[in-house]
């Protein structure tokens, strides 16, 4: 390794010396005093140490903190936004699930209500129908009764009229006086016969 280092230095000295003459010629042509580097090789090294130290200090104060802060802030922002987006997505999923659950509940409720309404309507209709039927039956029975009663009254009246007329006619035919007592007996008999005839 030492040999290699020495060889490198030797190469540089050689390279410097080799072209130095040319450089000197060039510099001389321009009237300047550029010289070949022989032992002054430490100058660039020392300069490098100084300028690097200055660069490191300046960058350490004015550059790297700013860049590091910006990168951290950006990373944090991206992380925060990803977390917020994930949270929003979770919330959206939960909201969607809630909505779907509510929708299903509402649909069930509506179905139940419709079924209940149908059932109620059916029951009401049934009740109305049965009530109407009862009323009709009652009306029919009442009408029948009234008709029967009227019929009886009419028949009775007709019987009375007919009996009276018959008695009157019979009296005229027999030309004899029928006493009220006879008349009553005749009427009763006739009515009885008519009633018997009606039963048959």
């Amino acid at each position: 390794m030492l040999k290699l280092i020495l060889a490198v230095f030797a190469f540089q000295d050689h390279a410097t010396g080799g072209v130095g003459e040319t450089a000197e010629h060039g510099a001389a042509a321009h009237g300047t005093h550029a010289q070949v580097l022989d032992t002054a090789n430490w100058l660039p090294g020392v300069t490098a140490l100084i300028v690097f130290a200055i660069a490191f200090a300046v960058l350490g104060i004015f550059v790297w903190p700013k860049i590091a802060k910006a990168l951290d802030e950006r990373e944090n922002k991206i992380r925060r936004e990803i977390e917020a987006a994930e949270l929003a997505q979770e919330q959206a999923k939960a909201a969607l699930a809630d909505y779907q659950r509510s929708l299903a509940n509402a649909r069930d409720e509506a179905n139940k209500m419709i079924a209940q309404a149908k059932s109620d309507a059916k029951a009401v209709a049934e009740e109305l129908r049965s009530r109407n039927q009862a009323e009709l039956i009652e009306m029919k029975q009442r009408a029948t009764r009234e008709i029967e009663s009227a019929k009886r009254a009419a028949i009775s009246e007709i019987h009375q009229e007919a009996t009276g007329l018959a008695v009157s006619i019979a009296g005229k035919i027999l030309e004899r006086e029928i006493t009220p007592k006879d008349q009553k007996r005749l009427i009763d008999d006739s009515l009885h016969e008519m009633a018997e005839a009606g039963k048959e």
């Binding site: 540089q12 300047t32 010289q35 100058l43 660039p44 004015f62």
Partner: protein, 306 residues
């Protein structure tokens, strides 16, 4: 003589003392100062554009505007999250990130500026060559950066392991142990101590050698036309050779641009790997299997680098 503009094609890789008659300065020192000034201005500008704006801007405040700041940000995030955190862990990455990123961008700027033919431009303008070339093609510059890395690595080792742990590390974990292992411990100790210096030396030589080699190759390619002319070649051969070597030089320039990034990355990354190697090993054992794998990768990378 060799190139059309510069006095020498190797002006990119050699350093000249007292450029323009300025005492105690060299072209590389002036280049270093100029590049550092540009580097600081560019990075401060980038930091301002990357920094989060006022709240009144809303979400826009988090957006980085400008291609260069975006590039700095993308590189910083990539190096931090994909390269350094797996090797160093969260805590050490935060601790050493300013140094490592400064190292990376500093070397990168110098390497990339080295590709700009500043010396040739000055030559074309009839000016003395005040600055130009690639300072990282100087072993003392890369050596200086390696010395800084050496101190960072060793200080981290002492802080992390303590004196006792540091010495134990140098014995490869064989001490305290059987007395019979003492000869081996001595050998391991010598190797480990040498390794402390060899590692940063390898960093310095790798960067220096890559920069010198790339720029020398480019200079040689560019100089082919002039060489043919010097040898008394005809116009056709001069144009033909110049075209061929020009195309090759352009291709090598792209390769050098890649090398500029690669070497900056390697210098920085290996420094991080050496820091991680001086970390407490128990922590690694207690951490997840994945991290253990990464630690092995880091060691592998270090061995590969050697």
């Amino acid at each position: 003589m060799f190139s059309l503009a510069s006095s020498s094609p190797t002006d990119h890789v050699v350093d000249l003392l007292n450029p323009g008659g300025i005492p105690l300065l060299t072209t590389h020192t002036i280049t270093l100062i100029v590049v550092t000034a540009v580097f600081l201005a560019a990075m401060i500008y980038a930091a301002r554009r990357i920094a989060t704006g006022p709240e009144s801007e809303g979400n826009e405040r988090y957006i980085t505007r400008g291609r260069f700041p975006q590039m700095v940000e993308a590189i910083s995030i990539y190096l931090r999250d994909e390269m350094l955190t797996p090797v160093l862990g969260e805590k050490a990455t935060r601790q050493y990130l300013p140094y490592l990123l400064t190292l990376f961008f500093f070397i990168l700027f110098i390497n990339v500026f080295g590709l700009v033919p500043l010396a040739d431009i000055q030559h074309l303008l009839g000016l003395p060559t005040y600055f130009g070339g690639t300072p990282t093609a100087s072993i003392t510059v890369t050596g200086a950066l390696a010395i800084i890395s050496f101190f960072v690595i060793q200080i981290h080792g002492f802080r992390e392991l303590g004196w006792k742990g540091f010495l134990q590390h140098l014995t490869g974990g064989l001490m305290p142990g059987p007395i019979a292992l003492l000869p081996i411990v001595v050998i391991v100790f010598v190797v480990e101590v040498a390794g402390l210096f060899i590692k940063p030396a390898a960093l310095a030589i790798r960067l220096f050698a890559n920069m010198v080699a790339g720029h020398t190759l480019m200079a040689v390619l560019i100089g082919f036309g002039a060489m043919v002319a010097k040898q008394g070649g005809g116009t056709g051969s001069i144009v033909g050779i110049s075209l061929l070597s020009g195309v090759a030089a352009i291709a090598i320039t792209f390769l050098e641009l890649f090398v500029a990034f690669l070497q900056a990355f390697i210098f920085m990354f290996l420094t991080a790997v050496f820091i991680s190697l001086m970390s407490h090993h128990d922590e690694h054992e207690h951490e997840a299997e994945g991290h253990e794998h990464e630690s092995h990768s880091a060691k592998g990378a270090a061995q590969h680098a050697h």
